[in-house]
Symmetry: C2
Subunit: 161 residues, 2 copies
């Protein structure tokens, strides 16, 4: 598998280094994670990696088109490997879990606002806010979100496609 990443890195004109492979490994296992979680997870594979190195790697990956950065309001930025297929996200207000959703209605509608006001639009970003299944249960059970504040990153869930 790593061979694939090596190829992709080279194709993007990036050198193949241990930190980069570690980060790619983490991203492959966890679809939506923040920089800090990536650093922690990557350290199990490559102990000496520093948080700043992770930022550098992520910047390089995003720049090279291997990863995508998403920034849900009110939280740290998350990174994912799914690039190229324009898909959107479901974010849980309770625990911060992010799930993928394929483009809402086919392909085109997402990219055409009624009035562009002179803007040259190149991307439509759609974020659905709500409560994930777990948080709905928690809220009904304990009266108010309980398992919420504890872990609001590092968790992930893949759905679309």
């Amino acid at each position: 598998m790593e061979t694939t990443w090596e190829t992709e890195l080279r194709t993007a004109g990036l050198r193949v280094t241990r930190p980069r492979l570690s980060v790619l490994g983490v991203l492959a296992e966890h679809p939506h994670v923040d920089a800090d979680t990536i650093a922690t997870a990557a350290r199990t594979v490559h102990p000496s990696i520093s948080p700043q190195a992770v930022y550098g790697v992520l910047k390089a990956l995003v720049g090279g088109g291997l990863a995508r950065r998403i920034e849900p309001a009110g939280g740290p930025a998350l990174y994912e490997l799914r690039v190229g297929d324009n898909h959107h996200h479901l974010v849980c207000r309770g625990c911060g879990v992010v799930a993928d959703v394929d483009c809402v209605v086919g392909q085109a509608p997402c990219l055409s606002p009624s009035e562009t006001a002179g803007f040259a639009v190149d991307e439509a970003e759609v974020v659905f806010w709500g409560l994930c299944a777990d948080c709905q249960v928690a809220r009904r059970t304990h009266g108010y979100g309980t398992n919420s504040t504890t872990e609001n990153s590092a968790i992930e869930e893949g759905v679309g496609a």
Copy 2:
């Protein structure tokens, strides 16, 4: 005009204070501004207002449903008075200008992802990214975005409805 805001504040169960009226005044003139710009502008009317007071006021306004907070990726949070009508935003990658757009296709489509993955969705946030008219010209003229970095807030532009 202030009378209206006084009424709205009271209706929301909030006290009518000078800082609040100042902030509302700024928001009425500038549809999409960040907290810092609001503080600066409000100071022309009420010199002694502190940045933290602005955060407090904004929090109160958002909590009371008088203002809405939007957080475009990569920039500080912006605030606007248009609440209740679900409209979306066009953000310029060059200068950060934000313009309003009415709901893409009528009302409903915005709220139905193809797969909810068990989520109870309550809001669909749509952000269109692109280049505003000015930045398109600037980019074509100077080869690369020029008037960009200088002012990326405090500017605003109203369009939809």
